[in-house]
Each structure stands twice: as structure tokens, then as C-alpha cells.
């Protein structure tokens, strides 16, 4: 038993006992370089492929970067800005906080997939097993991440600022510079959130910061949407506008620098290197699977799923009449957080579809449809598990059609519940639009679940003036459900309400479902 003032954590290595890394760095790097050359030679590749890859990435960035920047600026220009300075400030705070919160969520997900501070199983064994200080080993990639996040943040913020100011020409250089510098600093926050989620002791704090940012964003958005509430949310601008701006700038600088410092100096030492290495290995395997056409390859990227509700049992009453629906309900009870999040997302999606049907822009209908499609993935867990089986339905009686119908019951009911929640009190057009989109996303889910491997024909080289586009086609195949739902929702909005539109959309949904069932039957 250890007695003393401080408990020493397991696996702790006294920094004084570590080997200084700098003198080993060059040696480790030359070893890595040699191993890379040997591996490339063994696989018949060119060791200089990475140089060509870097060249290609730079070329693509130079060609498409300005196009993306202009697109972002145009999107920002379409955002309606209130006339009052408080309203503008609220929109700015809401946009920034929501963007940081969403990127923070992505950082939390990345932490489960072995990022953002990545390492490999070999490095975890040979360089991060205690002999060197982790922050020395990981310093270069931490700095690279900090600079990369700053560049991406500045890129997006300057485009947004230019759009809001009325275009790149109209925007003052000072505003663009300020927006870029501020975003470069704030971009360190979600990066640090992701890296903190990789450290067991700081995971909870990372989740807390992300939720705080999202809550701040929602409150500010609410304030921007209800101008009457703004004076209560912010002090009168005339009394201390200048001081407020100075405090805001100081806060951004302090938060940004503190996040960067955490990223480079603190978090690497607390990283769970084994979990990060395992996540990285899973991600690499999934990437190879995706390139090989296996759409199920991403299933394990975030690590094994955790199932709760182990005391829950199959509902007896339903088990007799609809056993697969009983199974699916039990599955959802074992993933309560995902089930609740999916219902919320679905309801928000239906709300957006209703807004679009009430005369809102097409992008709202598309976003709502995609939110419903995303939510339907959780509702269709049973169907996807069925599709992933070596012999789908081998244990069950009846045809594949019957099994798919059994698994479609729970998603259909939950989709209707979400649609009802989102379109409560709506006009008939809004309700019909929500129901049509529900039918579309359910049909698309059956269609997508029916095929887990890309058709071999997609790998046929497709030569174009820009090179082989077969990988682009493969990417489109993976995103086929999203693309079909987005395109159909956009067409629905353009066509407007009407019996012909409804019939066409229902026919499309039925066609997708039938195609999915046929694939199940052939499996």
C-alpha cells in the first residue's frame, strides 16, 4: 500500500527518469523514413508517392480553395442581418458559438476514431511507452494541428466576414484581418476539445465545453431571433460598447492562446496513447475497407458500441404479434441517448420541412430532409444489423420481404412521431410535405441498407480530362442515400405542393424500398 501526500497514478514515469527526446528525434525520423521506403518497395509502390500526394493536395487547394472561399462568402451574404448593433452582435456570437460547438462535437467523435492528436500502434509501443516525454514526441504534429486549425478557421472566417460585409471588395481589410485572427485563435478551442477527449482525465471537461458552446450559441440565436429579448441579454451598447469589444477581444485572445498552449504543452502528456493508437488503426482499416467498396467498414471506427438498459427485456405482448418490432424496440432501449437524439433530430427535421413548405427557402427543406434521414439511421438499427448478418434472416421464418417489413415497423412509427412533433399545428401543405419526406427517407434507408458492398462495376477506371474519376463515383455510391434525399427534397420544394408531386415522390420511395428488398432477397 502506498502512503504519502500524493497518490502516484499507474503508469506514471518521473520526468527526470525519461530519456531526452531531441537527440533521438533525428534517429527516429530516419528510421521511419527507411521503414517507409522499405514498405513502399515491398508493396511495389513508389517511395516518392507522398511527394506527389503533397503536390496534388497543394494543387487542388490552389485551384479549388478560392472557389470554396467565394461559395462561403456567398452563403454568408445570404444570411439576413438585423439592423440593430445588438442584433448583429447576437448573430455573430450565435454563429461563432454554434460553429465552434459543432466542430467541438466533431472533435469528440474524432477522439474515438484516434484523432485529432494521432499516433500509431508502432509508435505507441516504441516511442510512447514511457522512455520519452509524450509532448516531445508529439510536439511537431501538435504544432501542425494548431497551425492547420488556425488556417482553416481564418479561411472560413474571412470568407464569412467578406460575405457579411457585402463582398470581398466592400469588406475593409481591417475587418477581414480581425476576423481571420480571431477565428484562427478560436479554432484552437474545438481542437483542444478533441485532444482533451483523448485524455481520460479531461474527457468530461471536453464534453462540458462543447455543450456550453452549443448552449451559448442557442441562447444567442434565440436572442437574435427575438430582438425584444436582446436588451435583457446584453448591456446597453452606448454605456460600454468599446469596453465590451475590448473585453471580447481579450477573451478571444486568452481562450485561443490557452487552448493552443494546452494542445502543445499539456494534453500530449495526458493522452491515452493505446486508445489513440487503436483508434488510428481502426480508422486506417475502415479507410481501406471503404476504398475496397465495403460500406460497413465505418461501423467500428468509433470503437465498439456500448449498450445500456441490460435489464430491459423483449416486450412480451409485442413479441408474440411482431417479434422483429419487439426486437427493434429493445435495441433502441439499449441505446437511449441515441434514441432520444434521433427523435429530437427527426422532430427538428420535420419542423424545417414544414418551414420550407410554408414558403421558406429550398435549403431549409433540404436540411430538414437530411436531418430526418440522419435520424432514421438510428431508428433503422435493426434493419442495418439484419443486413450485416452473414445470412440475413437465417434464424427467422418467411421471406426477406417479410423480415424487412418487420424491421421497418419501428422506424416508420418513430418517423411518424417525429413528423407529428415537428408539424404540430401546421397547415395541410406542411403536414403533407413532412409525411412525403418521411416516406422518402424510409424508402432510402431500406434501399441503402440492402447493399453493403459497392458493385464491382464502380471500380472500372473512368478516364476524364481531370484524371480517373472512379473514386468520385465510389464516393457518390457511399453517399447515395444522402444525395437522393437532398435532390428529391430540393425538387419537392421547387415543384411545390400538388397531387402529381406527391404521387411521384411516393412512387420514388416505393421504388427505392422495392430495390432494397430485392437486394436482401438476393443476399
Amino acid at each position: 500500500m502506498v502512503t504519502g501526500a500524493m497518490e502516484i497514478p499507474a503508469g506514471h514515469v518521473d520526468d527526470g527518469a525519461r530519456v531526452p527526446y531531441p537527440r533521438w528525434r533525428r534517429w527516429v525520423r530516419s528510421l521511419r523514413r527507411r521503414a517507409l521506403v522499405v514498405r513502399a518497395a515491398e508493396s511495389g509502390g513508389d517511395p516518392h508517392d507522398r511527394v506527389y500526394l503533397g503536390y496534388g493536395v497543394v494543387l487542388l487547394a490552389l485551384v479549388y480553395g478560392p472557389i470554396l472561399w467565394s461559395a462561403l462568402a456567398q452563403a454568408a451574404a445570404a444570411v439576413p442581418l438585423p439592423d440593430a448593433p445588438e442584433g448583429r452582435a447576437a448573430v455573430l456570437v450565435a454563429g461563432s458559438a454554434l460553429a465552434l460547438g459543432v466542430v467541438g462535437l466533431a472533435g469528440l467523435a474524432a477522439a474515438r476514431a484516434g484523432g485529432p492528436l494521432w499516433t500509431s500502434p508502432a509508435e505507441a509501443s516504441f516511442a510512447l511507452s514511457g522512455q520519452f516525454r509524450p509532448r516531445d514526441v508529439l510536439r511537431r504534429r501538435a504544432l501542425l494541428l494548431v497551425l492547420g486549425a488556425a488556417a482553416v478557421g481564418a479561411f472560413a472566417a474571412t470568407a464569412g466576414a467578406a460575405g457579411l460585409a457585402g463582398g470581398p471588395v466592400a469588406a475593409e481589410p481591417g475587418i477581414l484581418l480581425g476576423a481571420g485572427a480571431g477565428a484562427a485563435l478560436l479554432a484552437q478551442v474545438p481542437l483542444a476539445v478533441g485532444a482533451a477527449a483523448q485524455a481520460p482525465g479531461r474527457r468530461r471537461a471536453a464534453v462540458g465545453v462543447t455543450l456550453l458552446l452549443l448552449a451559448l450559441g442557442l441562447v444567442a440565436a434565440l436572442g437574435a431571433a427575438t430582438p425584444a429579448a436582446l436588451p435583457a441579454l446584453a448591456p446597453a451598447p452606448s454605456t460600454g460598447a468599446r469596453a465590451g469589444v475590448l473585453v471580447g477581444v481579450a477573451l478571444v485572445v486568452a481562450v485561443g492562446l490557452a487552448s493552443a498552449w494546452l494542445m502543445v504543452r499539456v494534453l500530449p502528456d495526458e493522452l491515452d496513447v493505446d486508445a489513440a493508437a487503436a483508434g488510428q488503426a481502426r480508422t486506417v482499416t475502415a479507410g481501406r475497407g471503404l476504398v475496397g467498396g465495403d460500406s460497413g467498414a465505418t461501423a467500428d471506427v468509433l470503437g465498439p458500441r456500448t449498450f445500456r438498459g441490460r435489464r430491459a427485456r423483449l416486450p412480451q405482448l409485442l413479441l408474440r404479434s411482431a417479434p422483429l418490432a419487439a426486437r427493434d424496440l429493445l435495441g433502441l432501449r439499449r441505446r437511449p441517448a441515441a434514441a432520444v437524439a434521433a427523435l429530437g433530430t427527426g422532430a427538428v427535421g420535420a419542423l424545417f420541412v414544414r418551414w420550407g413548405a410554408d414558403g421558406g427557402p429550398a435549403v431549409v427543406t433540404v436540411a430538414g430532409s437530411l436531418a430526418l434521414y440522419a435520424a432514421a439511421r438510428t431508428w433503422s438499427d435493426g434493419l442495418y444489423a439484419f443486413a450485416a448478418q452473414p445470412q440475413p434472416g437465417a434464424l427467422l421464418p418467411g421471406s426477406a420481404t417479410r423480415a424487412v417489413a418487420g424491421h421497418a415497423l419501428v422506424p416508420a412509427i418513430l418517423a411518424l412521431v417525429a413528423a407529428a412533433a415537428g408539424s404540430a399545428g401546421a397547415a395541410a401543405d406542411g403536414i403533407v410535405a413532412a409525411l412525403l419526406v418521411v416516406a422518402l427517407v424510409l424508402g432510402a434507408r431500406v434501399w441503402v441498407a440492402g447493399a453493403t458492398a459497392a458493385p464491382p462495376g464502380l471500380f472500372t477506371p473512368m478516364m476524364t480530362p481531370n484524371g480517373d474519376m472512379s473514386m468520385l463515383v465510389l464516393g457518390a455510391w457511399y453517399l447515395r442515400g444522402w444525395l437522393v434525399v437532398a435532390a428529391t427534397a430540393w425538387l419537392l420544394q421547387r415543384a411545390g405542393p400538388g397531387a402529381a408531386t406527391a404521387v411521384l415522390l411516393l412512387a420514388l420511395a416505393a421504388g427505392l424500398a422495392v430495390a432494397g428488398v430485392r437486394r436482401f432477397a438476393r443476399a
Binding site: 465498439p304 458500441r305 449498450f307 441490460r310 427485456r313 423483449l314 413479441l319 408474440r320 417479434p323 422483429l324 419487439a326 426486437r327 429493445l330 435495441g331 439499449r334 441505446r335 438499427d381 435493426g382 444489423a385 439484419f386 448478418q389 452473414p390 445470412q391 440475413p392 434472416g393 437465417a394 434464424l395 427467422l396 421464418p397 418467411g398 421471406s399 432477397a521
Partner: protein
């Protein structure tokens, strides 16, 4: 119901060739209700290929494979309720426990399930200890025994098993042989590819042995 002279499996001079490699030499076999056949032979002799042909998951390069009176590929579509398969993994749900899988099977087949009840089946397979575990939480051997027990728990006239003894220790191999024996007692036809000499002997006593030739030089 047993029909006099009925053939559940009828394989006539079936071969399978991948490219230039013949993975199954000409093979013939017949199997009636309640009969067993052990498919044996060294690795690469075509045991799994033969089972895949009978399951209708692959087409013979030459010869004929009929199951329940239909070409195997059609039988897979039209008579899937009569054929239980354990070829390369169990069709399990990741969020259901071991006992819930058996309960789901019993409920899904409702009046057509001849029993036994879930508790008895778990006890017979010696899976009581892991009854509340999810498939992903089972050890390799437990997972294999779960797969075998669940496959044999669903009603079927014909059962195809590909090396059911794999990853099982000596005690559980004995349990697996007992489960296979119970399935035969219930009047099912079993076609089993195996490397286990005891299971092979058991099946040979109750039916026949089909020895596939060793693969030629490649």
C-alpha cells in the same frame, strides 16, 4: 413429415472451378429426411464449397445440385424456412443477449417451433452462464457454441453445418456432438463438414461419410 423416397439433397457429379483451379472434384451425394452425412477431407478439398453449393449460395461449374426437389439456388429463395445454415458465422443481432436470441427465434416461429423452451435449450448447450451476455461479449468458443445452439434451435428439415467444432475445447466438442445427435433424433437431415474425428464417427454411424479428395498441385 417423412415422405417415402423423398430426397432433401441430391448432388450429381457437381464440380466447382475458380479460374483454372478446380476447388471441388466431381462429387455426388443424396440425403433423405433424418439422415446424416459427414463431409471430410483435408483443407482445400472443397468441403465448404460443397456446402455452399447445397445452400444455393454458389453455382456448380458442372453437374447438378437439387435441394428439396428444386435447383439449390431456387430452394434458397423458396424453401428457406426448411434449411438452417451455419456457414461462416451466425446471423446474430449485436444488441440482443444470448437468451433473447433464442426467445426471438421461438416467438418468430410461434406455433411451428417444436421446442424445447429457451431455458432447456440453454442448459443443453451449457450456455446458462452467458445467457445475459451480448454476442460481442462472448469468448471465441462461447460464440461458436452460441451459433451452433441457435442454428439448431430454429426449425428446419435440413441443416448445413460448416466445421461446427471449430474453436471449441474437448468438453464443448462433446456438447456439440450431443446437440447434433438430438437434431438427428428429431428427424432432421444434417450435412456437416468437419475435421473432428469423433463427430465424423458419430455422423457416419447415423448416415454416411463423404470423403473429398485432397487438392492437386497448384
Amino acid at each position: 413429415m417423412r415422405v417415402a423416397g423423398e430426397l432433401l439433397v441430391d448432388v450429381r457429379a457437381a464440380t466447382r472451378t475458380h479460374g483454372t483451379v478446380q476447388v471441388l472434384a466431381p462429387t455426388s451425394l443424396t440425403l433423405g429426411p433424418g439422415e446424416a452425412a459427414a463431409v471430410v477431407g483435408p483443407n482445400g478439398s472443397g468441403k465448404s464449397t460443397l456446402l455452399r453449393l447445397v445452400a444455393g449460395k454458389d453455382e456448380p461449374t458442372s453437374g447438378d445440385v437439387r435441394v428439396l426437389g428444386l435447383p439449390a439456388a431456387q430452394a434458397r429463395q423458396r424453401r428457406r424456412e426448411d434449411v438452417a445454415l451455419l456457414l461462416g458465422g451466425l446471423s446474430a443481432y449485436p444488441d440482443l443477449t444470448v437468451s433473447e436470441h433464442l426467445r426471438l427465434v421461438a416467438s418468430a416461429w410461434a406455433g411451428r417451433h417444436p421446442g424445447p423452451d429457451v431455458e432447456t435449450a440453454l442448459a443443453a448447450a451449457e450456455l446458462d452462464r452467458v445467457r445475459d451476455q451480448l454476442p460481442g461479449e462472448l469468448s471465441s468458443g462461447e460464440g461458436q457454441m452460441f451459433a451452433l445452439a441457435t442454428t439448431l434451435y430454429r426449425p428446419a428439415r435440413l441443416v448445413l453445418l460448416d466445421e461446427p467444432e471449430q474453436r471449441l475445447d474437448a468438453r464443448w466438442r462433446a456438447v456439440a456432438r450431443r446437440l447434433v445427435g438430438v437434431a438427428l433424433d428429431a428427424g432432421r437431415a444434417l450435412l456437416v463438414a468437419t475435421h473432428d474425428p469423433d463427430l465424423r464417427a458419430d455422423l457416419a454411424r447415423r448416415g454416411r461419410e463423404i470423403e473429398l479428395a485432397a487438392p492437386g498441385p497448384r
